[in-house]
Amino acid sequence: MKYKSQKVAYAYFIVAMGLFAIQVLGGLLAGWIYVAPNTLSELLPFNIIRMIHTNALIVWLLLGFFGAAYYLVPEESEREIYSVKLAYLQLIILVVGTLGAVASYLVGIHGGREFLEQPLWVKFGILVAAVIFLVNISLTVLAGRRTAITNVLLTGLWLLSLLWIFAFINPSNLSLDKMYWWFIVHLWVEGTWELVMASILAFLMLKLTGIDREVIEKWLYVIVATALFSGILGTGHHFYWIGLPEYWQWVGSIFSTLEVIPFFAMMSFAFIMVWKGRRNHPNKAALLWSLGSATVAFFGAGVWGFLHTLHGVNYYTHGTQVTAAHGHLAFYGAYVALNLAMFTYAMPVLRGRSPYNQVLNMCSFWLMTGGMAFMTFVLTFAGTIQTHMQRVVGDYFMDVQDQLEIFYIMRFGAGAAVVLGALLFIYSQLVPQREIVEPGNDAVVPESGQA
């Protein structure tokens, strides 16, 4: 660790991994209810479990981003974080908000807009935490060296926080409600979060491959330009059937097709940097996660996204298991794997050890990635059959679902592999194996000399 205040990231990563465990266990339980529908049906119905599953996902990904920012900004700006106290205060607010939200879901108090079910006080807490974060990070960046990585990261984080305003806007007109809801959901994952993803990926490539900063930063601007040029109007792919004008069918189809470009570019970028790079960084697991993230993001978001994005296709697949298949692989590749790449890179440094336990970590990569890929395949099959029976033939929803049981059983199996992988990952990060004891001196950590 070059700067003492980077240590803040450690606390963020720990909490994030805890919520990650809760998220996948919640998913597994939800998947089990598909197989054995009477499970917990009166005590803890499916909708509550699903809320915990999706909310835990979003919150831990955000915590990972915040932690990543606190880790990489000091190195980029070449100075300590403006206020370590504020950073911990922000974390405390977010933890209290998260625990409060889960507790209130369990007693049946929640909102009813998907992913935004948090009680109002929690939404305000998130807003306050975001403001603290932005102030803290911006003051750090403004006072130090300006780089493209921090520029893009900050632009992404500012814009995504601004979009949070729409969490408070809930028109009583359902179609308007839906339109503004997508301002958060779509413009996060297919806009602002891509900026965060690209800048973290650029940082990792810089550290892991030793490629010239100028080259990396130019790529970075090109990638994020294609992301926003396509992603903003690409929002139209959610505006086909919710009461909005017909022109969105063309605008949405064309621009969301172009959304494949940034994901393709990120994948190409990562591989080219690794091929051209001279540095042989010892943290092989971080490299595996970085390349894996860029690749799976291309398949999950790019390929599986394109699969159902044209309005002629979406007319039939809209709101089927095809959507669930895509949502899982896209989130996993782009944001879960990216966060895990950052954790894998930073944790050994934060804990003051050489990279350790690489084999377990890499096993967890293959377990999780294999599990998510298999889950995506079976849900895609289920969704294809569902689309045909329900949307083309016109069979009733519940009758169609009865025919899909085999796929849901396989999805549960895939989910079990993911849970195992996730627990293995957390174990490999936290439980010391062959610890290299150093005399409390940063200089011996391999990262320090480089950068």
């Binding site: 499916f46 699903r50 079910e117 339109m179 601007y221 919710i242 009461g243 949307r391 929803f397």
Partner: protein, 150 residues
């Protein structure tokens, strides 16, 4: 490419282009907002009962099992056209009665069948909920879903 596209050019293209697309998007949003209010949802007034119904829908987080206009969870049937499926789209009283009976019969308890929870909903709220679902059903959704199965 390296001479023509320098880092600072790439940065300017990013900021300038993004601003352009944001402006276009905001303009289209304003137009769409008007279109929703004046055209696509204008078939039935947005009464207090409909608003109450939407609150009830949200309070119980129905969206985390069902889809509504194709968005939500995929665990339970589409409800954006349920009033059409039940044949009560233009019959407020009938819509209330059939919905009320349905909700009171849950959970079915049938082994091996997905269960819908029991919700405490009073008569005024139930009428609102029925109106809300009829209101949603009359929205012009560009002919989606393809058939009554939803």
């Amino acid at each position: 490419m390296s001479e023509i596209l320098t880092k600072s050019r790439a940065r300017n293209i990013f900021y300038g282009g993004s601003l352009f697309f944001i402006v276009v998007f905001v303009a289209m949003t304003i137009h769409s907002h008007r279109y929703v209010v004046e055209k696509s949802t204008a078939g039935m007034p947005l009464t207090d009962a409909v608003k109450l119904g939407k609150e009830v829908w949200e309070r119980h987080s129905c969206i985390n099992c069902h889809t509504l206009h194709g968005e939500g969870a995929y665990f339970a049937p589409e409800v954006g056209n349920v009033m059409t499926r039940w044949g009560v789209l233009d019959d407020p009283e009938g819509a209330f009665e059939i919905l009320d009976a349905w909700m009171k019969a849950q959970p079915s308890g049938t082994p091996g069948r997905r269960q819908m929870p029991h919700f405490e909903i009073n008569e005024e709220e139930m009428r609102g909920l029925a109106d809300f679902l009829r209101w949603a059903d009359q929205t012009d959704t560009q002919n989606w879903p393809p058939n009554d199965a939803g």
